[in-house]
Symmetry: D2
Subunit: 219 residues, 4 copies
């Protein structure tokens, strides 16, 4: 099977290459599964690039976000991978969310749709303990808010039991049934929806709806 679908992963680990990233290990599994379904993947490790704090799409001074945003725009499936720190997504993940959110100001001339409309969103999380569902909820909300469609079970995560302990790779999390099962649900459902939307792009006209809302609202 071969599709023309592209998946983009943004790895939001705090650690620069070549340090081991457990989140990258889970992403690698997803890349293999996408390949089986004929979906080509690209992985960007954010901290290996010079991405600026900010809420515009180009903060200048060598900001590399514009290149990453271009990759996002060319993808059909966008998956954020985040580690857990103190029960929360990483600061790098939040920085990426802030930059993605800025893209909503670029609206299609005719439909008013944001650049992430017609893209499918998902999330992968690893941590040595507790916090995954919070991270998933916040990442999926942010992607949805910026235009992505979220198919059923759009998340997969691995965490160990309460307190300090081995991380995903050391704990052989790659053999953890729950995580592997959810990863396959995520892969299958994102591909199903990416195909659907590619064939039948969303027709919602945000400009027209905004005008209707203006008529009904007070000055």
């Amino acid at each position: 099977m071969k599709t023309n679908l592209k998946a983009l992963f943004l790895n939001c680990t705090l650690k620069k290459s070549p340090v081991t990233s457990n989140t990258e290990a889970l992403i690698s599994k997803a890349v293999s599964l996408f390949k089986e379904l004929g979906v080509e993947s690209k992985v960007i490790r954010i901290v290996d690039h010079q991405v600026a704090f900010g809420v515009t799409s180009d903060e200048g001074n060598g900001d590399e976000w514009p290149t990453i945003l271009a990759e996002i725009k060319q993808s059909d499936i966008l998956i954020l991978g985040s580690p857990i720190w103190l029960g929360d997504k990483s600061s790098v993940c939040k920085m990426v969310i802030e930059r993605i959110d800025a893209s909503t100001s670029e609206q299609d001339e005719n439909t008013g749709q944001y650049p992430l409309y017609n893209k499918i969103g998902g999330v992968l999380v690893t941590g040595n303990e507790d916090g995954a569902k919070k991270v998933c909820a916040e990442v999926l909300f942010s992607l949805n808010h910026s235009g992505c469609t979220i198919p059923p079970n759009a998340m997969a995560y691995w965490v160990g039991e309460a307190g300090p302990g081995p991380s995903y790779l050391d704990a052989e999390g790659d053999k953890h049934l729950f995580t592997n099962k959810n990863l396959r649900f995520l892969i299958s459902n994102t591909v199903y929806f990416a195909k659907l939307i590619k064939e039948q792009p969303i027709t919602t006209n945000l400009h027209k709806l905004t005008q209707e809302a203006e008529q009904e609202s007070k000055g």
Copy 2:
């Protein structure tokens, strides 16, 4: 325009009828907009029914959840409406989430899909101040986790400025452009996806994917 689509709203206000529910007022707007698109709506105010705390689909002793769950299963679009209390969704909303989550144990014999697969989820929130996005994120996460697809901009909310102040109706929130605009985005996108999925139901076979995951995972 006439569709065979059905929308179900679960109003999670803490107040029993006939006390005014601001969340109900926002829901009523959504019902009108759905009607314009040929979608029939039903609204259930949870506290007017005897719904038990629990994590099964029937807690017995007069628990009315089974009837509500039957309505959910017959709907194409499921929207939770919640007020904000102390910056958070209502306890009634959380109770509903717990009951909906229980439905994931009823899996289709062939595909393993949960009852909420092929349904489109959304959220409406009103509060006199701060907390809406948190409520939206948590409700959408829960619906997604239980099987719903979340289309772009699947939320609409109204809140006033920091601190005590008038609620949605008293503040004429029904004329607030931002809320009215987002409500129309929500309506339009949920209908678009509900039609799409009705025509082309999700084919993902969770049973088969679980078996593959078992083979790859440790005993």
Copy 3:
């Protein structure tokens, strides 16, 4: 050692007695440790009482919250115990938070302080997997917002690894070092602060500060 300090635990499990509550098991440990420090404890399992949804301190019609609120007012240390459902605190816990929040409208005639001022807050959480820190953060925020002081490390929790698995008791979570360690930190610090505040109650005059704020603010 004997003090005149009282600790109150509100167990927010969804299960009525006599069904086993894992959260109750962790609470029992805390009760023993308080006893060693001369602190008398009382445990109330909310679902064994008829507590109404609402945001006042007495919803009438047999609402048993007023009795529980009286117990809260007589305590020096207030600890909420919650299970985790879908990565979140229980609906019963949220209901308790809504009712506690209502107490802030009863302000001391002279100082304007709420009933929970001069009380020390903490939280205990059990779940079979993921979600504890989110629950802790939200419970502690709510207690703090309603007037409690939160001493360092005011939380203890147990969760297992990602996905379905045994709960606290079945997993012998009572022998889990991380949980036991944090429980002792919680106990010791709540007692330290309860003594301190008992001897030197907070002198902040909220009425006076409100007046100053009024002078500085626009009509």
Copy 4:
């Protein structure tokens, strides 16, 4: 009145000086109020310094966090100021939380206490709309987890009504009663507790409690 107490504010705006920071404006009010109570303040705008992503206390390569951590250690009151972006604390705020969390590995030789024990924590938030309580809850949780005591009402925030709108300064949020009132509660209570703890530092011995926990737990 003159005390020997020091307050440190970490402003987590995304914008470098000299761009206007609304969060800085709210911080300035707090500085004035602290001054009236004889408390000396210092404000650090994080993005004006080269702070590295990471989870250690010195990430090398010119990382300026060690200097900031030294300031934290010399303070009695630590207040994080954060803007709101997409209903959430800023990425800079999360980065600061990650770095502060790293400090818990430096434990007092005798008591095992972390560097932030005996410090009082608080939070200030500004945003043009919705999200403040979530930010407050997460910041206070993180400070508490790292050792801070959280006094009653340890937060003050300003947000406008739902959707785009003017920010704190443009909206004359500095004259908003609710925000000004809460700010004074925060100031008064942090000072009360800072004095109390300065006179009677926490005696909890974390080393001893850990040993007791080890005896009770399984190998």
